[in-house]
Symmetry: C2
Subunit: 322 residues, 2 copies
């Protein structure tokens, strides 16, 4: 299906998609919410999918929160989501170190926010930097050496609203001067909906800044890297062809889904709209596209005007669940 | 000469170089000084070259100062240099706008320091940003729109010790949302000797950050772009083959010299040392290399132990000035 022309989500293909998918993987920013605001119709969609036995997984590149903090956010928005249904890039960064046997005596320098620090702590690693370095200033003076910890063995870079020259120098020195120091990017999203009304610089901004000084490329653990998918597959006994990745970004979400062999659905409720999609979709094509995930419910309700919407949906879900 | 293997500066080739060069173009950071400290032997070298009629030009990618501020720095270090012998990337950025008839009613947003603002003012342009935005904080709130000036027609990005999320968002919005807005990089040096003892993130860091959010590439006006050279050539009636570019960086200084058809001399008194040179020199080869520009004087003084050093130098300069 990848490589073929994308199709708008219709009654027919929505039916087929439901029928052949056991798990829906949702991006969060621009799909579930924008900043602190839920996107219309999301709770109904998730409820219906869940009540019909579909597994739901939330895969977010936003590293500012930990899985625990994301679970709280979901609850505060009235959506019951379990911590282990969430796969954030902050979690992925900590898991990357764990999987690769990062030595416990080494430290991790963080250009990023609380989420990364919390996941590192949960995983038993010692972290430096992050919010604590957000107000540190540099004074450039002769005969003064800016010292950095030689036991830092990894620098993790994610979205950081408190990015400053101190952190840029600290991270750069670790990567350039500590032998074998890893350079890990939670993700490389150019921008993200940090507020409901507009986009803001994403982790791709901070990561590029460190690439600019170190002239090195990072290991990326978030979407579209398949690293997170390995965790999903360990946890859920589902083949990737029976998963559908739903996201608002072609270069992270849809590419992530395609790289893993998932079905893919692009929504226009986030950074991609119908007009930018026409320009961008040449390289990465989603299988389907629609305005928002609320359309999944709308499509069902309107599929047969002779039945009541609820009845139609139920009968479709019966088909879908075989 | 370019493309051939680089040679260490010796008595013979120094003689030939002097003989065939009318103007020396010097990079500053890592060649003349490191941070606020002069490199040993520099005043003597400059004095001797000047006293023998060589034109001296100082070409720096460091945009934090204006030409006027650089002239002051030279004087404070005991080196008499005229403002119009200095070609800084801050000046280049303002000149780029002038040459390209940037409309006077449009504004320029600056991610950078005082030097860029001063050069823009000198050239009659209206600037926003720079140090004034260095302490601005962002509060991410629902229903709040971060506003930017729609009359900004160019964003200039240079080295900025006070880089923050506010400036990154402001610059990004102008480039992404103001139709036709230019994205100008003063330069893209990864690091620079902002202090004598170590390197710090260079403009390449801030420029990469904006590339990361806008997914656009800038117009670069400093080295190695040939834009500055056009000004030099307008001013000095010398063919580029009779100029020698002296610098500490292969990817800016030496490339700049080579792009323009100048002779080139790499010095190890800045970011490149003998060992990194062996790794890096495959792509960009200088014609000659030596430890520091003080070697030019040393080579002359030691060229004939039977004469006094001063006499030897004088006779060599006579030949050189033919």
């Amino acid at each position: 299906m990848n490589g073929k022309i994308s199709k708008s989500l219709s009654i027919e293909n929505a039916k087929e998609l439901l029928n052949s998918v056991d798990a829906f993987l949702f991006d969060c920013d621009g799909v579930i919410w924008k900043g602190e605001k839920l996107i219309d119709g999301v709770p109904q969609t998730l409820d219906l999918l869940r009540s019909h036995g579909k597994k739901l997984v939330f895969v977010t590149n936003n590293s500012t929160k930990s899985r625990k903090q994301y679970a709280k956010k979901f609850h505060s928005l009235g959506i019951p989501v379990n911590e282990d249904e969430i796969f954030s890039s902050s979690f992925a960064a900590a898991m990357y170190l764990k999987v690769n046997d990062f030595p416990r005596e080494k430290k991790v320098y963080v250009i990023g926010e609380e989420g990364i620090l919390e996941e590192l702590k949960q995983a038993g690693f010692t972290a430096l930097g992050g919010p604590a370095d957000g107000k540190k200033n540099i004074e450039l003076k002769s005969n003064c050496l800016f010292e950095h910890d030689k036991s830092v063995g990894a620098v993790i870079v994610g979205l950081d609203q408190y990015i400053n020259f101190y952190k840029l120098q600290y991270g750069t020195l670790c990567i350039r001067e500590n032998p074998g120091c890893l350079f890990i990017a939670t993700n490389r999203d150019a921008v993200g909906h940090l507020t409901d009304l507009q986009e803001w610089p994403g982790a791709g901004c901070m990561v590029a800044a460190i690439c600019g000084t170190t002239q090195k490329e990072p290991i990326t653990v978030g979407k579209p890297s398949t690293f997170l998918m390995d965790f999903l597959l360990q946890k859920y006994n589902i083949t990737t062809s029976r998963m559908c990745m739903v996201g608002d970004r072609l270069d992270t979400d849809i590419l992530f889904g395609r790289n893993a062999g998932c079905r893919t659905l692009l929504v226009f409720s986030g950074v991609t709209n119908e007009s930018t999609f026409q320009d961008l979709c040449k390289e990465v094509q989603p299988e389907y596209y629609t305005n928002s995930i609320a359309d999944i419910v709308k499509v069902y309700y309107n599929s047969d005007t002779r039945s009541t919407s609820r009845e139609v949906f139920s009968s479709m879900m019966t088909i879908a669940n075989g």
